[in-house]
């Protein structure tokens, strides 16, 4: 009896502990949402908000962000850079993943190591190196420079996800198609691509999210015309902290949840 009681106690303690950790993970993100509707320029709950006073809540920060030209320019930059970098990264990354999952690939481990390295290299080092090098090429403070840089930082995500999907791919399918007279391109387009498409799309989403959240390279290499959303948030947090940032943060959280659900949906589809 005592052991069961004791076990019960420990089990509850264990669940309680896990609940605390989950709260630690998620509460900071949730707390921003109500605060972004604050009618006052503060970062904390006002008494009116706690009393659920309608006047204490407002959409003013959202209005301010939507009307502010700087934020809409930042969004346009983020989208332009993010989408271009993603297209580049996804195309190159998918091709490379096809090669890397072929057991005949020479120096496979080394090549994989090199191609994944942009993901683990501290971004401050990548950004510093890129600043020097791209400046010499005249690519600093251009959109093209940032697109190339973000594409480089995004490719590992594509390589990893597509390789993972290909691990579940049955080579016999390609062989069967080839034996029936399909050329390599047709095999890829008609057989392989539809099967690995979920991996390609997830990889692309990862690459886009990485670019959409990247601030250090933009900080070092971007000029005034390349200000992105994270860059704008960065100066907002450092200099003139205003609740408008919280409104943007809520937008970004919504984005994150959409990305996450899409990737998870694709993963489950792929698993079947």
């Amino acid at each position: 009896m005592t052991t069961t009681a004791e076990q019960g106690f420990w089990h509850i303690a264990y669940l309680g502990f896990c609940a605390l950790v989950f709260a630690f993970l998620i509460a900071p993100i949730l707390v921003i949402v109500p605060l972004s509707f604050n009618a006052e320029p503060y970062f904390t709950f006002t008494e009116g908000m706690l009393r659920l006073d309608a006047d204490a809540w407002s959409l003013r920060w959202y209005r301010q962000v939507v009307e502010d030209e700087e934020w809409s320019r930042a969004l346009a930059n983020s989208l332009l850079i993010g989408v271009s970098a993603t297209v580049l990264a996804t195309a190159l990354g998918t091709l490379a993943a096809l090669g890397l999952s072929n057991p005949a690939m020479p120096a496979r481990r080394f090549a994989t190591g090199l191609l994944i390295s942009p993901m683990v290299t501290p971004v401050i080092i990548s950004a510093a190196g890129m600043f020097f090098f791209y400046s010499e090429l005249g690519l600093a403070q251009t959109h093209l420079g940032l697109i190339l840089a973000h594409a480089a930082l995004g490719t590992p995500f594509v390589v990893i996800t597509v390789t993972a999907t290909l691990a579940g791919y049955d080579e016999n399918l390609s062989r069967a198609a080839a034996s029936m007279g399909a050329g390599p391109l047709t095999v890829f387009r008609r057989v392989q691509l539809p099967l690995i498409a979920p991996g390609v799309v997830s990889g692309g989403i990862f690459a886009f999210a990485a670019s959409f959240d990247e601030v250090v390279v933009v900080l070092f290499m971007g000029g005034i015309e390349q200000r992105t959303i994270p860059r704008q948030m960065w100066s907002g947090i450092r200099e003139e902290i205003s609740p408008a940032i919280l409104a943007v943060a809520v937008f970004l959280i919504v984005f994150a949840v959409l990305f996450l659900l899409t990737v998870e949906w694709l993963r489950r589809r792929n698993a079947r």
């Binding site: 970062f43 709950f45 190591g113 190196g129 959280i253």
Partner: protein, 406 residues
């Protein structure tokens, strides 16, 4: 190797090895140009700096034959005077003086002041004129520093990055006590990274286990709770912590309201090491939970129950049966968190105040404020070697091709 026999069968169909390599090649070239070349360029910059050598070629040429013990002769003074004036005219003097000052502090003002006032000096003797403007020209140390700054290739920045320097005799000694900072910061970065990794493991392990052994629907929901922070923008998460932890923030307000602390006793939880530590743990925790989860979910539940039915206590069955099987996940999670932690920049920069800064922040400082790019490159080089070492270790222990996302 296996390409050779394949070629006999047909010229139009390249062998599978070659075909695979051709698929990988575009990305390799792309990464080579956009990513690896910049890193190489940075490493070159950490040892190569031609500014002084280009601005004072005549003086440096003459200094090569100087014995280094007595003051140099009039010809060298004359050469320097001429080149200083020219450098001022070309407006490169500032950069030259800055670099020489990094070899010996205080020389910047000697150079700029001398160049500013030499304009009024018609002609020699130059030694007298220059020593009259600034006493530094009467000391051999100044000339030694000048000669050292004139080297195109130097290890000086690496020494500097390790709080070392060369004394006038050429041997390597430590920097004076109040100038030492980088070793302190490397050490602090190491400790913080170890601390964050340990904390992530301690709180991530039970959570991963809970998710791995929950019924599928609940597991999916719980996993989402881990994935939401994983996907949420880093800047958003950092903003959240500012909102929660700052002096007039949500937590302090709550504590004051509950009477835990007085209004004048608000806790300083942010813009110091606490802020850095808490926010970093939050950001990196998913990187611990996810690999642990994927290893744990492959462990059949029956094993531990079997052990317990054979008389093992809950602790024994965990420690003897369960834990050893999760070690690959523990290794993967810890290495990943540690690698990410030692290069951390954004979070400490925004919530670390002055005491919560790590080595990356010093690199950013030299990149953006002091513009001591050579030193930034040297610090980056050292950090890069550390990360590369850990990366190779990760490959050995976990295998890079087994890396998964989300």
């Amino acid at each position: 190797m296996n390409v050779v026999p394949e070629q006999k069968t047909g010229r139009t169909r390249p062998g599978p090895g070659l075909r695979a390599a051709l698929l990988v090649l575009p990305l390799l070239v792309f990464i080579g140009v956009t990513f690896l070349a910049p890193l190489a360029n940075m490493l070159v910059r950490s040892v190569h700096d031609p500014v002084v050598a280009d601005a004072l070629p005549g003086t440096l040429e003459k200094l090569r034959d100087w014995d280094g013990r007595n003051l140099p002769d009039e010809a060298i003074y004359e050469a320097l005077a001429g080149e200083l004036l020219k450098s001022r005219e070309d407006r490169t003097l500032g950069q030259v003086a800055t670099r020489i000052n990094r070899v010996q502090s205080g020389l910047r003002s000697a150079l700029t002041r001398t160049a500013r006032r030499l304009g009024n000096v018609e002609d020699g003797p130059w030694r007298e004129a220059m020593t009259g403007i600034h006493a530094a020209w009467g000391e051999t140390g100044t000339w030694l520093a000048l000669r050292e700054a004139g080297d195109r290739y130097t290890t000086r920045h690496y020494l500097n990055a390790l709080d070392l320097q060369r004394d006038p005799g050429g041997s390597i000694v430590r920097q004076p006590e109040d100038r030492r900072i980088y070793l302190i910061l490397f050490w602090r970065t190491l400790l913080v990274s170890l601390g964050v990794t340990t904390l992530c493991l301690l709180i991530g392990y039970p959570v991963a286990r809970l998710i791995a052994h929950a019924p599928p629907r609940r597991a999916y929901l719980l996993l989402i709770l881990v994935l939401v922070p994983f996907w949420t923008s880093l800047l958003v998460r950092t903003t959240s912590w500012i909102v929660l932890l700052q002096n007039q923030g949500v937590l302090n307000d709550m504590f004051v309201f509950l009477g835990v602390i007085g209004d004048d006793g608000r806790l300083a939880m942010i813009y110091n090491m606490t802020g850095t530590f808490v926010a970093m743990t939050h950001v990196l925790l998913p990187f611990m939970v996810l690999p642990l989860y994927s290893v744990m979910s492959a462990i059949p539940r029956v094993q531990t129950s079997a052990a317990e039915s054979l008389g093992a206590t809950a602790w024994q069955s965990f420690w003897r049966v369960y834990w050893p099987q999760t070690l690959p996940g523990v290794g993967a999670g810890c290495l990943l968190v540690f690698i990410l932690a030692i290069g951390y920049y954004i979070t400490p920069a925004l919530v670390g105040g002055s005491t919560g800064q790590l080595i990356s922040n010093m690199i950013a400082f030299h990149m953006q404020s002091s513009l001591n790019w050579s030193l930034a490159a040297a610090l980056g080089g050292i950090l890069l070697v550390c990360v590369a070492g850990l990366y190779v270790l990760y490959d050995r222990v976990v295998g890079i091709e087994r890396m998964r996302l989300g």
